[in-house]
Symmetry: D2
Subunit: 360 residues, 4 copies
């Protein structure tokens, strides 16, 4: 249950305060050039400690490839990657060892497993998402070969939201803002939350360009279903939209249907998916993050002994996880698309026959 | 890829205009009493043709149990169910055989599979959801034994939305309205859409009561991830929210965290899930449906030959699929919870030892 | 757990004395012509009641296709098939309702599930193998398009064994004998067992011709591993060999290695598999069946109440299940190969790029 | 496809001459004490270089636990283990870089993946089995808590075979011989093969004691099917028997059926499995290994360029892989049984209800 995908399969392991985190990527076709620079670049995009707007915790997040690559190319065997933990301050957590932090997984892990790793969330820590980014980076290398690219940005922080989608700006913005004019507002909102020892929610949009027609396996492995599952399973995510999303419920059919002409679809309310299958239009998803539960205000909670206590957290946390969430969403979309691209290969007898007709 | 679940596994088959639709439910524990009356009642809740507010197409939807039940109880072997198709009007579709209906899966199925069943959507037809309802009904029987119940209702039709959650009212409302005061407005909106040969979107909320702590397998089979995947994979769904959902992005951590006291959580912004695991609070999800793509206004599209054509549909369709969508969402939630309930059993060594210590 | 395969997935359902047995075949590529005559021919090869050498029980075994086929071709959606049960004599079993028949699954089903279907073995009955044959027949149609064919025959009945492999003879022999000279001996042995109210073991060889190089996914979905799992999971099978099999343990490396020349491998001790992957040589497996446990001699056993009783069976049974076992083994090999053929498609980046380069 | 199991899931990675090999074990219940000494002891049993009778290649095989364990106990999260490679002599393989070694996976990996790791077999090397042993060791710790233990020994080397099953002797024998009187003969046979620059086959028996009734999920995840799949998938294995095995084909039903009395089954021809489900008797399987393909005699083969060449291997290899194969078979049996033990928990409604009735 620590596994994502059917053919392009990511298995992750590791905790925030153990030896490290890592993943095994199974199903990567042989012959893919592994660009380690790009891999580490992607990790650096997720890495905390880079600005005032994310946690000051420093993680070097340099990945070691343990298997599956020979002389720079994948061999078709499992690609294992490991990111050692550094800069661990387990002692930060000793004082709250038995306390269930509000909004965190402490309570549920305790009752589910009977014991839990109290150090920084252990397995439930967002640190694990670095393994998703590593796996997603390899998926992106693969998708690039197929002409597919993925990008994202922040369109909402707290009450401030924008319809502008300047992905090039988001890429260089310290808060990944999609709207250059909202950048300052986003920063202020985050600083305000931090200053108040509080946190703030936010939302991102993720897109994929260069989509082929036909990705997605109906009826229970549809492209939108798989994206919904992967994105909703990400820490702090409370809502996911595809294409028109929530607003589709307000529209009439005549408004929401995308007319089709020779030059392509005239609109994209569908977000690039019809009947669970990509239609060649841009893939569009939006993901909504709750405010980080780690805040420094006193909060009512229980401890493992069943006492009502007041929780006062210390440590280093993101005031707005949505900022760093975009790159993880990109990785998840990449992993889902890579899986779907492989599943797609056997849909038609004619294609299978052509393959084997070549003498394989 | 026509399969949902890991241990409680639903596999469905069938098309709207073939012999019928059906499912195989694998993993149902032995000894469950199968209430056929309830099973057919659930199907009748989904069945079209019952009011002005859904399609006038009549389907009797009486289910035949083909296997897995002996003398009224499950035997632990696969439970197969079949619902023969009746009242098929394939001729309704002959005129649009080669046309890609806007907003439908025609275009994507054609390019993915090279051929497609043009009769009423074939496999992509919402008729298949009857198989989900049948499987979900058995899941509900199982969950009832564990004290879990599931219910739903419509809170939005088009622009009209309400915060009232009267699930008892929704159960008897012909449009499943959660707010008695909105009922007329919802009806009017639907009639207006129908009158204009158009359709309208809508949204439902689904809840589960009596939730135990501990359902959900982190990190890639979390309860919210699995729900997100199952619900987003349902026909016409474009957005899914858990708990606070979209609004969580607007909140501060101090507002969104649920304080915990001896008598339980003081609020439920989390929607019953922390770290992907049920926390014992009510499970709350909201699902947003696009307007039915089948409308009777002229629309621009292509046909299989690549000509630009105007599509003018005939036939019988729901003006607002959200109305009948609630019971399908209940079924999907039931299927996911049943699966999670079985997966939960092996989480702790102590529990496993107790089981085998009994002499098994 | 009633499912075989990863991409080409067979799910079966049904019991010997319920409404019928059936299967859902998921993953069949679209565009395959479904030859119903061949389908029923394969089922007739498995069908009992055709000679003195198998059970006189009559089963018509005519299959109904419930979904997945339109105008004679597969559509890429689940192909469901159903074979209604006929000629059921449940009363044959009433007298042994609470008795654990030696060598049967009665004892284990009872203690595992707490209840069981006592009528003819219920789910554990060999009747379920008709569903495998139906699924396997479709797999054979698919493999035929790729140039792969599968055949089998009996080389051992009781103590009598032969090295002759005349598969053409086996196809028309009433006992599927591979050696024309052994045919009479096999018949005599079976008649002797039947005359003594006993049964007798036997063994078959199954081969696949026209194998491409590259089928089999190392390391935990190897071709030999998958075949071993599928064949050992068949009722009454107690041993499986690949290629040289058991004898390989007696050989030296210099004897067992297959030299490779330009015209191909000079021998086939490997049975067509190296490192879990097909090497292009003929696939060779042997399967050993225990004697049918259903015998008509008095046997010591217990009943559900825990009494020591003497079991005296009545009814109609195969004196030698190996005779009809060959066609089921062919079906299982076909299902495994079809699955492997689909899994093979994504092994190399170059192939995937070519596929998508075509504009999909 | 580098994954074994459904709930207790082993994923392995690594090659013989890369950074190392490892595994991720998912599904281990929380609260299991991890005995690192035992873990390393098991690895040392598999380790080569310990006697004249296995390869003189030295591997220290000390395992690092990367995740999933806190303060000595499992936490319910993925348990990752890593064994760094040492003592690599890649240069040994440079001279045969483009040559397909007879009996090895070189040929099939080359044509399947288009490129391959030529250094010591890469992924197809038996070195990977250390990861299985590591995973199996944890499974043994778990099974021990349930009262199940697993052991093995060699009963055949080349032509020499024995019916004696002295598992205590095998444990301390340098060639794991089950028959003390055959020990010298086994050694001589192995030395003879080595002296002739050749290798020799062999066979082992593996058993499990303390088996509960009910392990195994019919019909496509039966205990014998799963064992057959796991064992046949092990390097060099060409045949697998359960219980009476091959000999069952020679017997009559009256000889092969196991009579059942109050004190238990009077014989164990079934090898502890009826209808794919454990019956409480000892589990008995036999596994036949081909002679190591790595021999030092000249052999005919091709190279990647398509030339007919003579292959003359150098390096360090086991003359008889069956000797070290037993411990790997034990590990595989342990992994399968651990998986089945977890799958067993949800078979009966009564058990599930009791579990949730406790307030979970």
């Amino acid at each position: 249950m620590n596994r994502l995908g059917e053919l392009w399969v990511l298995t992750t392991f590791g905790e925030s305060h153990g030896a490290g985190i890592g993943c095994v990527l199974d199903g990567v076709p042989a012959g893919l050039r592994v660009d380690e620079e790009f891999l580490n670049l992607e990790l650096s995009r997720r890495r905390p400690g880079q600005s005032l707007y994310s946690t000051p915790r420093k993680e070097s997040d340099r990945v070691e490839i343990l298997s599956g690559v020979m002389e720079g190319f994948t061999t078709g065997t499992p690609l294992a990657m490991f990111i050692p933990n550094e800069n661990q301050k387990s002692s930060d957590y000793e004082s709250i060892r038995s306390i269930f932090r509000p909004g965190h997984a402490d309570f549920t892990y305790h009752y589910k497993y009977g014991l839990r790793d109290h150090r920084g969330g252990g397995r439930s820590s967002a640190r694990e998402t670095a393994a998703r980014v590593a796996g997603g980076a390899v998926a992106k290398m693969f998708l690039k070969e197929l002409g597919i690219s993925i990008f994202s940005g922040v369109f909402q922080v707290g009450e401030h939201t924008s319809d502008v989608r300047d992905f090039a700006h988001a890429r260089k913005s310290v808060v990944n803002a999609l709207d250059p004019l909202m950048e300052e507002l986003f920063k202020e909102e985050i600083e305000k939350a931090r200053g108040a020892h509080d946190s703030i929610g936010g939302a991102i949009e993720v897109r994929a360009k260069g989509m082929p027609i036909g990705l997605g396996e109906p009826l229970y492995h549809k492209l939108d279903g798989a994206l919904g599952g992967a994105l909703m399973g990400l820490n702090a995510v409370k809502a996911v939209e595809i294409g028109e999303g929530l607003s589709a419920a307000r529209l009439k059919g005549s408004e929401n249907n995308d007319p089709l002409r020779l030059e392509g679809f005239k609109s994209n309310h569908a977000g690039g998916i019809l009947g669970g299958i990509s239609n060649g239009s841009e893939l569009v998803a939006r993901v909504y993050f709750k405010p980080t539960p780690s805040i420094f205000l006193p909060q009512e909670t229980l401890n493992e002994e069943g006492d009502e206590v007041i929780c006062a957290l210390k440590g280093r946390h993101d005031p707005c996880v949505a900022i760093r969430g975009g790159v993880v969403c990109e990785a998840l979309v990449a992993l889902v698309l890579a899986d779907m691209a492989l599943l797609r290969l056997g849909n038609r007898l004619q294609d299978v026959k052509e393959f084997y007709g070549k003498g394989r």
